[in-house]
């Protein structure tokens, strides 16, 4: 199929950016969106033009590197997948596709479609862990965890930190991301000991980074490639109030 791409190009963090139009011909429906961009980049490189910069690594939907805002959707129009998995068969011949970087104050653009998501790491550093030194763990079998709790904890823990929730939220809020980590630990007996400190510290970190607040619109849940649930946000709120 033939496509028209309008891609946000921005030389660096300080430069002024804008959309550049590219025509792509003979795109195979079996390609992923990133492979389509690879093909574009190879074409650009051959013509000695600067290829489009975008973050990507594992190409199997788990590292969380990739992510772009495609026609009004983080990770494109197909639910529950990352951009690297987005198959081109979901687009039709003649489509115009607009590609933008994540937009948020806390995620400044680095180049083209690459943004700086280090704010996520900073939030995690505030308390996204269980304080336990190597060597002091009891036997793995000695801490029973109710199956339902373990499963719910896992469902939250699979967040890949891609930032789609922030990108989707009208307030650029990171609540879904933060709540996923808080839920993972809050649901496990190992994590209960410092659950209160964790919630307080991570929320403070989130506010400091410049993310917005939660309006419960559910856009994050709708666009999350790992289908992290809004109930995690309710749990975050609960954990936070319990802290004080």
């Amino acid at each position: 199929m033939n496509l028209t791409l309008k891609i946000w190009r921005q030389k660096n963090a300080k430069a002024k950016g804008g959309f550049v139009t590219y025509k792509m011909e003979n795109v195979s429906p079996a390609m992923s969106f990133l492979e389509m961009l690879d093909a574009l980049n190879e074409k650009l490189a051959k013509e000695n033009r600067d290829p489009v910069a975008f973050d990507h690594d594992c190409r199997e939907g788990i590292c969380g590197s990739c992510g772009m805002y495609i026609n009004g959707h983080p990770h494109g129009p197909v639910p529950a997948i990352t951009t690297c998995h987005l198959p081109m068969r979901y687009f039709s011949d003649g489509d115009t596709i607009r590609v933008e970087p994540w937009r948020a104050k806390a995620f400044p653009v680095v180049k083209d479609l690459i943004v700086d998501r280090s704010a996520f790491d900073k939030i995690q550093c505030e308390g996204g862990f269980i304080s336990l030194d190597t060597g002091s763990a009891p036997d793995a079998g000695s801490i029973p965890v109710r199956k339902r709790d373990a499963d719910t904890s896992f469902d939250a823990a699979i967040c890949i930190g891609c930032g789609a929730c922030v990108a989707a939220c009208k307030n650029a809020s990171a609540m879904l991301f933060v709540s996923a980590r808080i839920s993972q630990y809050a649901l496990l007996p190992q994590g209960r000991t410092e659950a209160r400190e964790r919630a307080g510290a991570m929320v403070a970190g989130m506010d400091e980074a410049g993310f917005g607040s939660c309006s419960n619109t559910g856009a994050c849940e709708a666009e999350c490639p790992k289908e992290i649930k809004l109930t995690n946000i309710a749990r975050l709120n609960r954990e936070y109030y319990k802290a004080y």
């Binding site: 490189a45 051959k46 998501r117 904890s153």
Partner: protein, 639 residues
Amino acid sequence: MKKLDSKIPDGPLAQKWTKYKASSRLISPANKRKLEIIIVGTGLSGASAASALGEQGYSVSSFCYQDSPRRAHSVAAQGGINAAKNYRNDGDSVYRLFTDMIKGGDFRSREANVYRAAEVSNQVIDHFTAIGVPFARDYGGTPETRSFGGVQVSRTFYAKGQTGQQCLLGSYSSLNRQIKKGNVKMFPRREMLDLVLVDGKARGIITRNLITGEIERHGAHAVVLATGGYGTIYYLSTLAVNSNASAALKAFKKGAFFANPAFIQIHPTCIPQLNEFQKKLTLMSESLRNDGRVWVPLKKDDKRQPGDIPEGERDYFLERRYPAFGNLVPRDVASRAVKERCDAGYGVGEAKLAVYLDFRDAIEKQGRKAIEDKYANLFRMYETITGSDPYKEPMSIYPAGHYTMGGLWVDYELMTTIPGLYAIGESNFSDHGANRLGAGSLMQAAGDGYFILPNTINNYLADEIQRPKTSTDTPEFEEAERAVTERINKLMSIRGKQTVTSFHRRLGKIMWDHVGIIRNGKGLEKALEMLEELEDEFWKDLNVTGSTDELNQELEKAGRLADFFELARLMVADALNRRESCGAHFREEYQTPDGEALRNDEEFAHVAVWEYAGKNKAALLHRELLIFKELEMNVRSYV
């Protein structure tokens, strides 16, 4: 010429590690603060080492090329992590895990190291559980396990099909805790471009800031490489597309020996290539072989849909050839069997380069719900990529490059032949011999990082406590930086016509065709010629767009590819030299009449260790003889 000293402690096998720890040197907390350690890579081994060393009070600097340490490719490991807990009461023990690993590695690994890896596996599981890794649980609340390829016990702990992600995020969380405490300083989006030696000891690294293009110097008392494997040498592999061998290769060129470079595992169950621009082959976890049955049609060129082929006309070739292990044979065996069927013309799909992995019987027997519980995310991933529903139709799978058993040579302390330079996780050669068993990589990486390195590095650093901080204003750093800048400029100045990716694709094809699942002397020699030509062409006709002082992904790729060329030659040399078949290394000339690997223990029961001899010179071969005191070297059989 350096002598290889593996520094294996004396005493009975089961006592070696305990004895080592009891007698290794200690450093007081006050002195640890003054000691600086650089760790390159933030995968499972790197992140866990950084956090464990940070906890001890060392000043750690941690580097990764990704935007966040959480993205390292350990994140993609799916099936599980082994531990000899014997929670199932099925006869498992540290000794059994050790035996399985030695046997699985086809008697090409060191007994002492493997035993230790098995020994710390239990601590690893305890630690991960305690730091909140949500492993699967039974209704009684205890951890669940499953069985994995190549073993007959159920010792694999898992978190659905995302065990690697969960373990890595566990290590990432403990790393974050140390960053917050100020014990670890994190340097993301940095690529290590050289190792700096001062007086023969590893003292620092040169990095490129991938955003600004700035070349930076970092000094330390010791350097740890946790930079993973080099499977992307095949271009298409199960690895992250940016995974690379540059750090290990730089260390090699500075004097670290490289062991068994040709030992590279081809994973049997990956989604076959679907289009020419594909950059990556997605792995379908080995755990699927617990319930999936592998088959091809009995008739050649059978054009029928898989569902229309009656039971009697299917060839369940793994069950046929290996009745004892059936579909659960180790990866190397399965990969070769798949290739054998496809080469013989029985493959399915358009290119005839695939076999079926069928869940029909499992769904019938256990119900769809049970299968969903175990594999829902994998099935969904398969459907997203291929558009076909594995609940209804069998999966199509084909082998792809996956894990490198080879790597930097290390002694018992995980130190390379350069004093003060350590290699951990997949980047060393240590524990998997000629083939790694499923769910062993997470186990080894976390064991190295959390429990082994933090107990061995002190033995070296104890002599360094008097040494002040490493200054980066020295001729050694200056020279290293100059060389790095020079090479970058050289890459930028070729200004030819071909793109980096096109060269990588061609390199990958040569390597896959001749140094892949099956190798032979002629093919390897041909590969050597082709590699030389291609490398020549690369340095004459490459085009790298953009400039050096900005984020330039083409330049990053070019540098990595240039290093792959050098490694490729080393791989071929090693494959040529090893005139036997063992584990994942299968030389056509050396096989039994039934087509099984034929080992040659008399000549090749050793680690092939390569020393860099200079530009355009053949690397020098050293041998570390493998002596098996505990186990008898028998024929590895899964029949």
